[in-house]
Assembly symmetry: D3
Homo-oligomer: 323 residues x 6
Amino acid sequence: MNEQWLQPPEWLWNVNTNEPTYVHHWVQQLKELEGEPDLIVYGAPISRSSISVSGASLYPTEFRRLWKGFATYNLDEDVDLVDLNVADAGDVMMHTTDILLSHRRIQESTAFLTQSYPGAMTSMIGGDHSVTACAVKGIKEAFPNERIGILQLDTHLDVRDPAELGPANGTPIRQLIDGATVKGEDVVNIGLHGYFNAKPLIEYAKKHSIQMVTLKNARKAGFVHTVSESLTQLSERVDRVYVTVDMDVLDISVAPGVPASTPGGLTTAELFDSLLEIGKHPSVRHIDFVCLDPSKDSVVSETVKTGVYAWLQFVTGLVNRSK
Amino acid sequence: MNEQWLQPPEWLWNVNTNEPTYVHHWVQQLKELEGEPDLIVYGAPISRSSISVSGASLYPTEFRRLWKGFATYNLDEDVDLVDLNVADAGDVMMHTTDILLSHRRIQESTAFLTQSYPGAMTSMIGGDHSVTACAVKGIKEAFPNERIGILQLDTHLDVRDPAELGPANGTPIRQLIDGATVKGEDVVNIGLHGYFNAKPLIEYAKKHSIQMVTLKNARKAGFVHTVSESLTQLSERVDRVYVTVDMDVLDISVAPGVPASTPGGLTTAELFDSLLEIGKHPSVRHIDFVCLDPSKDSVVSETVKTGVYAWLQFVTGLVNRSK
Amino acid sequence: MNEQWLQPPEWLWNVNTNEPTYVHHWVQQLKELEGEPDLIVYGAPISRSSISVSGASLYPTEFRRLWKGFATYNLDEDVDLVDLNVADAGDVMMHTTDILLSHRRIQESTAFLTQSYPGAMTSMIGGDHSVTACAVKGIKEAFPNERIGILQLDTHLDVRDPAELGPANGTPIRQLIDGATVKGEDVVNIGLHGYFNAKPLIEYAKKHSIQMVTLKNARKAGFVHTVSESLTQLSERVDRVYVTVDMDVLDISVAPGVPASTPGGLTTAELFDSLLEIGKHPSVRHIDFVCLDPSKDSVVSETVKTGVYAWLQFVTGLVNRSK
Amino acid sequence: MNEQWLQPPEWLWNVNTNEPTYVHHWVQQLKELEGEPDLIVYGAPISRSSISVSGASLYPTEFRRLWKGFATYNLDEDVDLVDLNVADAGDVMMHTTDILLSHRRIQESTAFLTQSYPGAMTSMIGGDHSVTACAVKGIKEAFPNERIGILQLDTHLDVRDPAELGPANGTPIRQLIDGATVKGEDVVNIGLHGYFNAKPLIEYAKKHSIQMVTLKNARKAGFVHTVSESLTQLSERVDRVYVTVDMDVLDISVAPGVPASTPGGLTTAELFDSLLEIGKHPSVRHIDFVCLDPSKDSVVSETVKTGVYAWLQFVTGLVNRSK
Amino acid sequence: MNEQWLQPPEWLWNVNTNEPTYVHHWVQQLKELEGEPDLIVYGAPISRSSISVSGASLYPTEFRRLWKGFATYNLDEDVDLVDLNVADAGDVMMHTTDILLSHRRIQESTAFLTQSYPGAMTSMIGGDHSVTACAVKGIKEAFPNERIGILQLDTHLDVRDPAELGPANGTPIRQLIDGATVKGEDVVNIGLHGYFNAKPLIEYAKKHSIQMVTLKNARKAGFVHTVSESLTQLSERVDRVYVTVDMDVLDISVAPGVPASTPGGLTTAELFDSLLEIGKHPSVRHIDFVCLDPSKDSVVSETVKTGVYAWLQFVTGLVNRSK
Amino acid sequence: MNEQWLQPPEWLWNVNTNEPTYVHHWVQQLKELEGEPDLIVYGAPISRSSISVSGASLYPTEFRRLWKGFATYNLDEDVDLVDLNVADAGDVMMHTTDILLSHRRIQESTAFLTQSYPGAMTSMIGGDHSVTACAVKGIKEAFPNERIGILQLDTHLDVRDPAELGPANGTPIRQLIDGATVKGEDVVNIGLHGYFNAKPLIEYAKKHSIQMVTLKNARKAGFVHTVSESLTQLSERVDRVYVTVDMDVLDISVAPGVPASTPGGLTTAELFDSLLEIGKHPSVRHIDFVCLDPSKDSVVSETVKTGVYAWLQFVTGLVNRSK
């Protein structure tokens, strides 16, 4: 009997001493949170509602898995995010085959979160773009008397006809306009470019007064400035702004994990800089990030890293807003 | 003006002279077929009904795309398939988000094809395994008084509970048994092995008298012989046999394009040899191949090639049957 | 007998209603075209003439396969391409082992097309860069009295010695100069940079007065402006301008499917913007795109998408030209 | 205020009802285990001791991550593993640059576990093959008076000289023999084949009476039978048998995730069947699985699935042993 | 000035002490060889003669690069290859675009090597299958009065019409028969199976008395035995036997780096075991290995490893022959 | 006997005529060099000192392998590098498991090279970032009375605690400061951005007066200008400047082969342009490039190409410096 081994060596059952300097140690479970959350993050892991085969349902898990590679300290802005209370509400549980039921659950979960935590911003991690319609409807349910505006960063208008496709990922903006949840004039799409919206969709957008700002024009005026101005103008007539970031707005060379991304799209710098402004802008209450399919990502997880970075830029903006 | 170039050179607008020696030149469109088809092939391109993310909906297209790499002449059996009338009915058009509607269309298309062409065998190309339930229900609809038996080559029982999942790809056999379309005792599953069926599923199978033949036991008695014997016994009590081949029955080392495949599975030789027998057996009227996801396949399309080969082995068997 | 199934259900033999809003529905077969074509597109699928192993011969097929992902409506320019008659003449049929014969066929097909449709622009889809020499010779054959200028977007001079390599992909410009089809001074190469042209090649270029504009210098003057100016100057002394785009001019980070691409190359924005100008410029009659190897492309087909986009930018320019 | 949303919907904060029918719900943390463990599993995540670049350190994590794809019920043997107490002791914490220290920790952790839980089998998940030397030394430390035999399934002898390489992954067996922890004659290597052991290593093995059984000869006598016989003979002269499975013993076509695997190796059936016997054999007290590098594995995780399957076969054997 | 550093440290300009125990240290350059070679290896790196895009021209380099992973000691046969004089004649230099010239060079190099080293066996490393016709013609040129027999391990007959394709990789056997270099009856093809030879090719083979042995029939009689018997019968009527191994004879699951490989092909064990016999057989004077495309191989170089292993099995057979 | 074949054909044993126009023909072995070297390149192929699994040890070999794709002529600068004497000292031989010994060898080799060739610049090719500490210590050993400054292009500070990790790749700068080899104020880090340095590391940097220039701020002042200014200021107080380029400073979209790269990083243009300046600056005596892992690189070797290009830009700068 070797006396030495009556106790386990420390390196066998080691306790990872908390390093609250990384994102995964900072974000807390909403159920366990003490105090009020400043920002809630929750997942909507559905992509069987996509027109093409998509693994975007895998994104919420991958998004959280990469948190450990990001410090809470933003060197560029000299800001530490830990002062903010960010809480993770987990994922809305999806049904295997009943897409409408899954959508309803996203809607109701959003209604619950926004109503129960009225002081908190929400950030939803998709899933494909169909989840945006659910979330906005949920917010409308919670705040039926408020007028909601949408800032959409997207290569596509997403106004295809749900009568044809059902509530698929090409339809959310049309669902909201046709269903009178949001007025067409309260939707601003920035980032459109190239050959990726058929003419009838443009006509729908014009008819419903959706504000279309091409990437080319946005860049002429300064991309970040355009985003900022749009928010200011939007906030003059709506009560709260919902920002939806379809990751296919990014140029395909920086977004291998977004199958619908295209050449001629946004740079990551443009995305990151505008998210700082979006985070800062007081009218913005909700944001989502959709259509990132980790199963297509590069070996070094380029796109998921970009997704986490983008979200943290929004959070940095929030810190600055609250100052 | 160069007189020489008043007519297009022959190598510009060349006509591919038909080479009826390859599969793509031999199979005809059902709509254009003269005479009665011996075998109908049709696609059921749905995989949003899968529990996991799946691109099996892409298989029917890839399956046909590789036909041009296969001659109609089977060297091993010294048989030329061209004597058989094989007709392609195209793909059943799927809805983007209404899975139940898509399933109904598969059922009704199968009902139509089997009723309208009573002399023809059918071979359906999935899609995920949920399509099998649709097809068998469609056949039952066309032949309500016939008793249908199922021979299932599969690593899984596929008797998960539709009350929980809806008509997902883990549930088809249970749908058919619970819905009284097929009796449990008329289902023979060959190929089960390892750790891939939870105990409650085994209990369901036993309770409903599903015949479970493990791969290990099938091999002891000779795999092909076991298949053959099972067909003979099944045919004694049913009117027609439906064979469903879940490609995940194959060993994962030969089926990179089937995400649910496992180590310890079937060899391609075992699959190919049994399909010869299945094709020959007079009681077999229908077959399907499911769960092959071309987006996961190897660079040289190993799994899709195997899928085409497997189907051609069944066709070779048919030729031998008709002799 | 179930009366319901005497007719095929509509979703089985569905007719795809034409959506003339996408490129694949808009471009017509040259043989079937009514009226005069404004632009002819044809493929030159050869890459066994490449110094390194290349699958560029697969590009024409992949190029057309991705048309369905592009709308005919250009949002940035508010232009719909459908007013233009674009006709597809198919691919020139290549011989398996006789490279000279294949080259001759490209030359003769180009001679035929340019002579028979004198009002049409031509756009040839390679293949490796050897095809450019064939096409220019073909045009010279059709218009022996015209002086042809070449605008080349390329990382390389492509003046390696055919006496050593035969008519390989590193030699087309030298073939044309040595063969007196084109004068050296009528060749403008924009996009050269870095360490990718050995000194003897530079000396050849200088000796023959090829105009070399490095990417660095082009950017100093404005890349698009440089292209535009070069065209204007070139058009003052030649009768028609042939533009050849070697896709290896693109930076390797945006062109994974071009094995010869390098760091320090063109951005897609620079390429797309210059193609608008090139399309607009009245002296430009012919264009080709070469050296894109789809077998090396990323999972989401980044480079082929870029190739289609580039071609559509040229077409957009044509629309503006004709206004 | 919408009363409905005062409580969170059940699908937001859903509790995963335990399904004790899958491996991940069955294996418990050693620290939390009530009762005595029958088998302990622990990780030794080191591969910077590999001669070639290796990511085998990532295997313990991937090994556990795939547990959820395996049921506890073994269909072939009609055995449910849940009756066995299997406990997970976690991973031994490795140092970043001090390889000797890391090795010492593995040794001491093994000494602790084997001494503190004398009734338990141990299964160590590597890491590269250097960890085997550590584990065996640890066992010797805990049971200094026992004679230890080794059954090695491996394509290589692993008797390279530590004087040259240090305690690298090519040296463990030589470390143990030269260090007098194990006698050469008590080492049986089964699975050697081909051209993968240089002659001086063969000479070392012969000089120290290592029993070398080539795969060819093992197959002639029946592979499983050879393994079984070797265990029986070994157990006649040693007190406990340590089994080490270098996954490179598998044929390269079934083990893409083992860079050192070769053509001409073991089939998975041979591995799985022998592990049943190994598990059953009363003299076997310890096992390890090494050299599986998940970063090289196929998209569908073929090799890690095989690794989990292999371990479960050993566990199934244990259940049969205890009967 | 630090005296210590006036001499370079030994680990900076280290001399790799020869380890003649690995293949790369054993095989010598033919030009530097003292004494007569027993076996000559040379490369024929051409694949632009392939019907499909192929990188088989890269194989000779990759083949040699992997030598360092193989010991000269064959454990199964207890044979050390170092007693044999194996010499590397390098690669025949290919022309970039003149395929006929490249072919002529292979022919002439083979003529030179076989005539100048009449006591040596030759092993040629392709390249695509077109090189076999060149090599056999070269041998005929060197030994015009000898009758040459061919043993072909191949999934295809390779008797497509050179009148249509030129001397492409589908035509070598037909070139040799039509050109009267070899009689049809002196060609034995073993390994044919499935749907990979169109009927007209079978008819050509029958008409010219090519001996076709399907894989199925070969296996019934014992694959190795069939090979052995075929060699014996062939050697009764020919003066020397040329063996050509088209690597596409291997099953696609073990040959990811052979784009033309198919399901239902040869196992590596069957290939390795027959090469031992082929090496032993006194009538065999020449061998080649063709159609392996390393650019398609798996990350762990499975197919190239198999190619080197196969060649070494032939060499092992030679050692046994000479005993 | 065919007289023709008594001599080997020229294309069999061809001599590659030197083309001194490419990098691989220009750089000479240091041992064989006549005259004094202007620049020495040597490899430090270690990456088992990396915190994460890394194949950066493979970089020196890949770096040299790609030289043949680069001409010595720099078109942008109209400079031919051949006038410079660049000598390759080979790789420092690493030990398999003794990391400290390997590090000592790098240190001593650097001491030897810098002392023995005092007129030469040195460029070291890593390996991971741990090698920088070794090299700087070696230089200090050779020139103990000189004050060394460091210009670091890096996304990270690399001041993690060696007391915790040993001399791992996250620690080199801290090793040098804590060991008093370099003063904190003599370290300038340019390129920091985002969320990739935990707060305690920032605090260490501030405490030791490391100059941190974020990428954002560098760009505001002009990236190249910032680099240039930093060198000028640094050179006012130090005797020689060591430049270390951690390739993870590059944006992840242009550096797939650098696992630690991130979104929001440097462009290749910024890197290339600053290396011109760095090469020109008279105070710079040493440079290294680290953390590039070729096993993760893209199919077309994007990152290794970028690495060679970067090194050549530094060499071009040297040429300009010497003018």
